[in-house]
């Protein structure tokens, strides 16, 4: 170790540089790359709902002949992968930080988990009595609606403009998709929803870069 590290910085400029470098280096290490947080979800929506649209478009004929189990399986696998990626990236970044931020994250996580279970339990009871296309619309519109609401709530908790705007966007396109009806909803969610997440990931990354500049 530097034996002189008890000595003062050489001058004011050096002190300020030291402060700025250290703060930006710490922020860089404690802030997970926004692309790794957002993009896996964007890809999951784009590919998962995209395949769903191609297999179950409006009307009775599939646009692309895929096994009927494939779209949902791909969607769930990609969603799980996105969740796992986010968990790993966040743990690596905030894993050793405790306090108010950790508590916020934890409670927000509970809201997702419990909110999903309570909403889907009701859906499960109803959707078995619906025709396939309406059941699919009910499930996806509810899931996407819940996601939009929780993103807005997350934006409010962390005063995160990107997350809040994404929540607004997802809620609006969900509304449009639901009005457009079965089949179309998947297309809207895939293109506007998945694409929107990818764009927000890019914007959030750019904002992060500016913040981390020394």
């Amino acid at each position: 170790m530097d034996p002189d590290d008890d000595s003062p910085p050489t001058d004011a400029a050096a002190a300020l540089r030291l402060i700025q470098d250290q703060r930006s280096a710490t922020a860089r290490r404690l802030d997970p790359d926004a692309r790794l947080v957002y993009w896996p979800w964007g890809v999951a929506w784009l590919v998962g709902f995209g395949l769903f649209f191609l297999r179950f478009p409006p009307g009775d004929r599939a646009l692309v002949h895929l096994p009927s189990w494939l779209p949902l399986t791909v969607l769930f696998v990609l969603l799980a992968a996105a969740g796992a990626t986010q968990a790993v990236v966040s743990t690596r970044a905030y894993g050793q930080v405790t306090g108010d931020s950790a508590r916020r994250g934890q409670w927000y996580g509970y809201a997702w988990a419990l909110g999903s279970v309570s909403v889907y339990a009701g859906l499960g009871r109803i959707s078995e009595h619906l025709p396939h296309d309406l059941a699919a619309l009910l499930w996806s519109a509810t899931a996407v609606g819940l996601t939009g609401a929780l993103h807005m709530a997350g934006g409010a908790v962390w005063l995160d403009r990107d997350l809040f705007r994404l929540g607004v966007w997802v809620s609006v396109i969900n509304l449009i998709g639901a009005i457009a009806g079965p089949g179309w909803h998947a297309l809207v969610v895939a293109v506007a929803g998945g694409g929107g997440i990818l764009v927000v990931g890019m914007l959030a990354r750019r904002r992060q870069r500016q913040r981390q500049q020394p």
């Binding site: 170790m1 002189d4 004011a12 300020l16 703060r23 931020s101």
Partner: protein, 102 residues
């Protein structure tokens, strides 16, 4: 011109306090992670943390995570204020034109 705070005005402690200031208010960081962020030895970091703690700038708490003991370090309200005042004083030295904005 205000005197520069001697507790903060030392390279190592300035680095420690600048790093801690990047945490959100109310957050603490585990000792090994802080050590890794600063690339300091455990002994060296402990010495400087003790000086900062004696000045009331840093709060150190010992807890248990499962069975392993963990030391958590965070900036106190007073430490954050002292750091802000120090940064302001440095900026004033660099740009002596009086201005209300930082």
């Amino acid at each position: 011109m205000t005197e520069l705070d001697p507790v903060i005005h030392a390279q190592a402690r300035l680095r420690v306090i600048a790093s801690l200031s990047a945490l959100n208010v109310g957050d603490k960081i585990a000792f090994p992670r802080l050590q890794e962020l600063l690339a300091m030895t455990a002994g060296n970091l402990s010495v400087h943390l003790r000086k900062l703690e004696d000045a009331g700038y840093v709060e150190i708490s010992k807890t248990h995570r499962g069975r392993t003991p963990a030391t958590l370090v965070g900036l106190s309200r007073r430490g954050r204020l002292a750091f802000e005042e120090y940064t302001e004083a440095i900026r004033a030295l660099l740009d002596p034109t009086p201005s209300k904005e930082q």
